[in-house]
């Protein structure tokens, strides 16, 4: 198996799917000629031509809006929003259109668009190159929200997303683009949407996480193991509709849960996890679920390292559930 970085794995998924399915086209700002500001789409225009890999004008409404029109009429657009911080101009197209086309037309039309977008901190990007807006999409009925945490999953999940009949918001942890390399299966490697992954087994407490927080949680788990605490790390992969069974199984086993994300806390995705757990398996809980998250502030620049959870903060959270 070839060893690929995160961004190469995504590139491979795009390339393979475009070879497999003529209906797929890619567009976004700077994705064509230079292959994207993160070079994720590098070489695609060279291989598939300017018609299928398009550099668009600077307007996210147009990118998402045109993709919806394409998808309703038989094309499969996989579009890039350069940073998830810049997805909001297209929010109306996403929330009122993309997510609702199928429902409002009584199932007559659908809009299978994949919206790829890098998210999260770790690149000294400040307010506008570091945000984690996943909760907005989870709250929007009709969308599937996916966040991979490693190259192999990135490839397998993106391939599944590109074959989905529903619109998928596919958020990529940009800090891992180049910092993470691993073996990635070649060819038909599909990771199903809606299935979580046990990234590490353990019985003392459960860490629920996704994307860039998975390596952080794994690091925390290794450190905890040194002092004999066995943490189970669940990589959710699909945030919504979430794999509730995997979560519940782990909670039933450990009875202690820490939810970790870098997005702000209030009405964040962690809140939904806490609520789901409380509603379904409260009787198994031996401590209140702890949320280790970004702050309810805009994303800072210089103090970024205090904002984004690290292994230390995760372990403090773990202490709180263990010592309750």
């Amino acid at each position: 198996m070839p060893v690929l970085t995160f961004h190469q794995a995504i590139n491979a998924a795009l390339r393979e799917e475009m070879r497999r399915d003529e209906r797929i086209m890619v567009m976004g700002e700077d994705v064509g000629h230079v292959g994207g500001v993160f070079r994720v789409t590098e070489g695609l225009q060279q291989e598939f031509g300017e018609e299928r890999v398009v550099d668009t004008p600077l307007n996210e409404i147009g990118i998402v809006g045109a993709a919806i029109g394409m998808a309703m009429t038989g094309i499969r657009p996989c579009i890039e929003i350069q940073f998830s911080d810049f997805i909001y101009p297209a929010f109306d197209q996403i929330v009122n259109e993309l997510a609702k086309v199928r429902y409002r037309s009584g199932g007559q039309f659908s809009a299978p668009v994949v919206v790829r977008t890098p998210y999260g901190g770790g690149v000294r990007g400040g307010h506008y190159h570091s945000q984690s807006p996943e909760a907005y999409f989870v709250h929007t009925a009709g969308l599937t929200t996916v966040i991979p945490s490693n190259p192999a999953d990135a490839k397998g999940l993106l391939k599944s997303a590109m074959r989905s009949e529903d619109p998928v918001i596919f958020m990529e942890p940009k800090r891992l683009y180049r910092s993470m390399r691993e073996e990635v299966p070649e060819g038909e490697h599909l990771v199903p949407l809606g299935k979580a992954r046990i990234a590490r087994e353990g019985s003392d407490a459960t860490l629920l996480c996704y994307g860039a927080m998975v390596p952080i949680c794994l690091e925390a788990a290794s450190r905890a193991a040194e002092s004999g605490t066995e943490l189970e790390v669940i990589d959710l992969r699909t945030l919504w509709p979430v794999d509730i069974e995997s979560i519940l199984a782990s909670v039933r086993k450990t009875g202690r849960v820490v939810v970790v994300h870098e997005a702000p806390r209030a009405c964040g995705y962690g809140a939904e996890l806490v609520a789901q757990i409380a509603e379904r398996v409260i009787e198994y809980l031996q401590a209140p679920v702890v949320r280790v998250t970004g702050l309810d502030t805009p994303f800072p620049y210089t103090l970024e390292s205090h904002y984004v959870p690290d292994a230390q903060r995760v372990l403090t959270g773990v202490q709180r559930v263990l010592k309750y």
Binding site: E51, N59, T73, S105, G106, P241
Partner: protein
């Protein structure tokens, strides 16, 4: 009766200069294309449309007006909850719809019932949509006038103003990618030209030179907002210049001019010449919707001249002048239209609401676990 043709004969040829960007780009305040005179005067130059077709065109305008009148009526009687009338905009609808081919795609706003009917949206299904019942193609999920179906390549409308504009651009783009010789046309109002979606759609269409035609029905109002408070440019068609796209103004109450311009624009786009912006000058004769009271903001005097320019009246005069329409035709056309509508209402009014289960369908291709649960909850609670 005085006759006049403003449109140059030259202008009716498929790729005539009137759609050349240079012509329009350099002439932002160019005249409005007109074939029928005002108030029923005649066009000397006959359109290239067979007599039978001209009669059918008028017949369609009658049907649209009859439908409109009847739906407003149903709303007043509380039999449907809401309606968006298009009275006054029949020529803009039938003239443009006439110019389309079946393989073309329509991206409508909420005031295009006539276009839908003309393309073959079944009358029964349309009334089911107004009623939101179990036989509505939309499964009763949207307010009246938010309908559509792939059977006639007519997209399902939504309410947010302007969002369909980039969709149409995507539709045209898709056609090009799929090597389909179709054109996408999009309908929207004067108000919609202010939206970010309009700007996005125009920009993308022009840069990509896509086969899309923008039909902007300038009916003078965005609810209570008059044109002057929406846009400072003299004409909406001036906007085309800034996108490097040809822009045309046409008398939207003149079905022959609309048909001529629309055909030319559509075939221009189909031939790979890129997008066209068409401003159809008309007037919304009724309220914005049945929830609106236009007397609060629109002086009655303002409507008077427009009543003279009624699109049905003008076209009928023309047909009568050519001996193509009689009083008897008129009586028959209305009677048939009304009868058809009444029969349809009678058929569909007894249809019940969609089943409760449908509330969680079509959010995704398959109903996911959490929606199955939520439906179960509802059933337990209700």
């Amino acid at each position: 009766m005085e006759t006049k043709v403003v449109l140059n004969p030259e202008d009716l040829r498929p790729t005539s200069r009137f759609l050349r960007p240079a012509h329009y780009a350099s002439n932002g305040s160019n005249g409005m294309v007109q074939m029928l005179g005002n108030e029923g005067s005649q066009a000397t130059r006959q359109p290239e449309i067979a007599a039978e077709d001209l009669r059918a065109m008028y017949d369609w305008m009658v049907r649209v007006r009859a439908f409109d009148t009847r739906m407003v009526n149903l709303q007043r009687q509380g039999r449907i909850a809401f309606f968006v009338p298009s009275t006054g905009e029949e020529a803009a609808q039938i003239g443009t719809a006439w110019a389309l081919r079946p393989e073309d795609w329509v991206f409508p706003a909420y005031r295009e019932q006539g276009v839908a009917l003309f393309r073959g949206y079944p009358l029964d299904a349309l009334i089911c949509q107004m009623m939101g019942n179990a036989q509505d193609y939309m499964k009763g999920r949207q307010m009246p006038d938010h309908f559509g179906t792939p059977r006639i390549r007519f997209m399902a409308a939504s309410s947010p103003v302007g969002t369909q504009i980039p969709h149409a651009v995507g539709g045209a783009w898709s056609a090009r990618l799929r090597r389909e010789a179709s054109v996408s046309v999009v309908y929207f109002g004067d108000g919609a030209t202010s939206t970010g979606d309009f700007h996005a759609g125009m920009t993308f269409a022009a840069v990509q030179q896509l086969p899309v035609v923008f039909f902007c029905k300038n009916n003078g109002w965005a609810i209570s907002l008059p044109y002057a408070k929406q846009c400072r440019a003299e004409h909406l068609s001036d906007k085309a210049i800034g996108y490097g796209m040809p822009g045309v103004r046409v008398d939207g109450n003149d079905v022959l001019a609309v048909q001529a311009v629309a055909s030319e624009a559509i075939e221009w786009a189909r031939s790979g010449n890129g997008p066209v912006f068409v401003e159809l000058i008309t007037q919304r004769m009724g309220p914005h919707s049945t929830a609106d009271d236009p007397t609060r903001y629109r002086p009655n005097e303002l409507l008077e001249p427009w009543k003279q320019k009624d699109p049905l009246h003008r076209f009928r005069s023309y047909l009568e002048g050519r001996g193509l329409w009689t009083e008897a035709d008129e009586t028959r056309a209305w009677a048939e239209a009304d009868a058809r509508i009444n029969a349809a209402i009678e058929r569909v009014e007894p249809v019940g609401p969609p089943p409760l289960e449908s509330i969680v369908e079509d959010v995704y291709a398959e109903v996911p676990w959490h929606l199955r649960e939520q439906l179960d909850e509802l059933k337990r609670e209700g």
